[in-house]
């Protein structure tokens, strides 16, 4: 192993096991002052520009292409913003089926991140394959849960990704009762493995070095149901703002080292995601998840990014229960209804939802022909990037203080911290505007 005295930057050219392409660069000067940059070099996708001039219905089919990890999140948030723009109210059943589809995304995304991207670090394996060979039951649980999420999205959205069945005003085709009962069975069969991830992560202590006070932002759940849908964003400093005011409250700025912007709230960096949700709204979890939250409370530190893994693992169990509750409700009140076809008028619509990685904000402006005139998207990864860089700086400083001089030892810890945020780099880069 090579030992150097940091005459060169510590660099991770390509962070493994995250969605998209990003790297870390750590500069340490003679005074041992540390500067950390998370370089997002995934090419900008400019989705907001692509949809200008297109019909808003077409735009809501384009937005999910931002990402294959959280396509349903982009689909539903885009639909909500588009409907808000023209004042279209959907049926109660549509809202429930959309929530179910979104939960499918949440379950699939959490399962993938927890088991296959984050867990190998903690179990001491370089990758999922090495871990899988010695822990096949963990991999089986991972795929069972991931498949569950994908099947829920397939049944509700007609496709396992970029679900075209979800439309403005409702669904092209309502899932049949038989298919909904199939979901019930799969949910029931998955309960045995719903806490496998939690049990695994709880074997490891949080790294205290990376714990520092931070501001959390999360969506206040509608009707006091923990989860995805809401109209107001609450901050851990006690303030709040309405979803339709997100552009005034969340500021974005371009940073030279990244294709993704950095965000701030009231001039302060902040974080968002499962840890923020569970920190601010744990009282709204169901009884079983509240018990998990209580039993594993030692592993939940609102100021420690590694706790995001534990928060996601509790949510995994919660969302399986919530999906079952919703599906039973849809079955009990089942209506073979048609979607409401949109009537277009000029307007601006906003929507903020809780995607797997945190707040996802959309603004869509349409003209009276239903063409998009302006669009804005802020993704969770763009929101928490600035806080993540602070955490990486803190960990590096702590390791240097402890006399660690091996760059690979430092970079390994930094990568684990990055993965705990569950970043989605492809999502984050679409928002960058090219400089003229």
């Amino acid at each position: 192993m090579t030992t150097i005295k940091f005459t060169q930057p510590i660099t991770v050219d390509h962070i493994a096991r995250i969605e998209g392409k990003a790297g870390i660069e750590v500069q340490i000067n003679d005074k041992k002052e540390v500067e950390v940059k998370v370089n997002i070099f995934e090419g900008p996708r400019l989705f907001e520009s692509i949809v200008i001039g297109k019909s808003v219905e077409e735009a809501t089919a384009v937005f999910p292409r931002v990402c294959s990890f959280c396509a349903a999140a982009h689909k539903i948030t885009g639909l909500l913003a588009a409907e808000d723009a023209i004042g279209l109210q959907v049926s109660e059943q549509t809202s429930k089926i959309r929530e179910l589809m979104y939960i499918g995304d949440m379950i699939e995304s959490h399962a993938l991140h927890l088991f296959l991207l984050a867990l190998p670090d903690f179990l001491g394996y370089p990758d999922g394959i090495s871990m899988g060979k010695e822990h096949p039951s963990v991999i089986k649980a991972a795929l069972q849960l991931k498949d569950l999420g994908a099947i829920i999205q397939t049944i509700t959205g007609s496709r396992y990704i970029h679900q075209e069945n979800a439309l403005m005003g409702g669904f092209g085709k309502i899932p049949t009762k038989a298919k909904l009962n199939e979901i019930i069975k799969l949910l029931h069969d998955s309960k045995d493995v719903s806490t496998v991830a939690l049990e695994q992560f709880a074997k490891y202590e949080l790294w205290e070095e990376v714990s520092s006070e931070r501001l959390h932002l999360a969506l206040e759940p509608k009707n006091d149901v923990y989860g995805i849908i809401g109209e107001k964003i609450k901050a851990s400093d006690g303030t709040s703002f309405n979803a339709n005011e997100y552009m005034k409250n969340i500021e974005e700025r371009v940073v030279p080292h990244s294709f993704a912007k950095h965000s701030s709230y009231k001039g302060k960096r902040f974080t968002t995601g499962a840890l923020s949700r569970i920190t601010l709204f744990n009282s709204l979890l169901n009884d079983k998840s509240k018990e998990l939250y209580s039993n594993y409370n030692n592993f939940i530190d609102a100021n420690n990014p590694l706790s995001n893994n534990i928060a996601q693992a509790i949510e995994l169990s919660y969302f399986i229960d919530r999906a079952e509750e919703l599906t039973l409700d849809i079955l009990e009140n089942y209506k073979d209804e048609q979607r409401i076809k949109p009537t277009f008028k000029e307007g601006i619509g906003y929507a903020v939802t809780e995607a797997p990685r945190g707040l996802l904000a959309y603004m869509i402006s349409v003209n009276d022909e239903g063409k998009v005139t302006k669009a804005d998207i802020i993704t969770p990864t763009a929101m928490f990037l600035a806080q993540k860089e602070v955490d990486l700086k803190k960990m590096t400083e702590s390791m240097i203080e402890k006399g660690v001089e091996d760059p690979s030892e430092i970079s390994k810890k930094l990568e684990t911290i990055v993965r705990s945020y569950d970043p989605c780099v492809s999502c984050s880069v679409h928002v960058t505007k090219l400089r003229k």
Partner: protein, 153 residues
Amino acid sequence: MIYMNKTLILSLGSRVMSDDAIGHVIVQNLQQKKVKADIIQLDTDIFKLNLFFDNHKRIIIIDAIQSSDSPGTVHVIPFHDFEKEIEGKIRGSHFLDMKEGLELLRIANSKIAEAEIFLVGIVIKKIELGTDLTPVLLKKIDEVCNIISDLII
């Protein structure tokens, strides 16, 4: 899911990232030719194979690959050569490493472990936002379809 054929053909790739969509274009051609195989367009997540696998004997994965070879070059790589070929000369272009995903699927699903797996990789020229394929790739479609047809059992 009930399938009738012994061969499952999957395409990987993003449809909006230019040449990355080459696999999807090829499977659309195979569908039109009504080849004797079950055909699925998987987008970018290899783990979705688990949803569509139904005790098939052979799995053919069609994907864009990056390599120093000239665009349009076709590589047919059996699974047992993935280690040597994919991490050396060529690599997949997606965020989830296909080889790693397949290994994990083989651990979780013994039937997938028993199936013969082939990658048909087409060397691409560009990955950027857009829906147009590089012309040299379009000229290769018939040739790739013929190669795949010969692999179907």
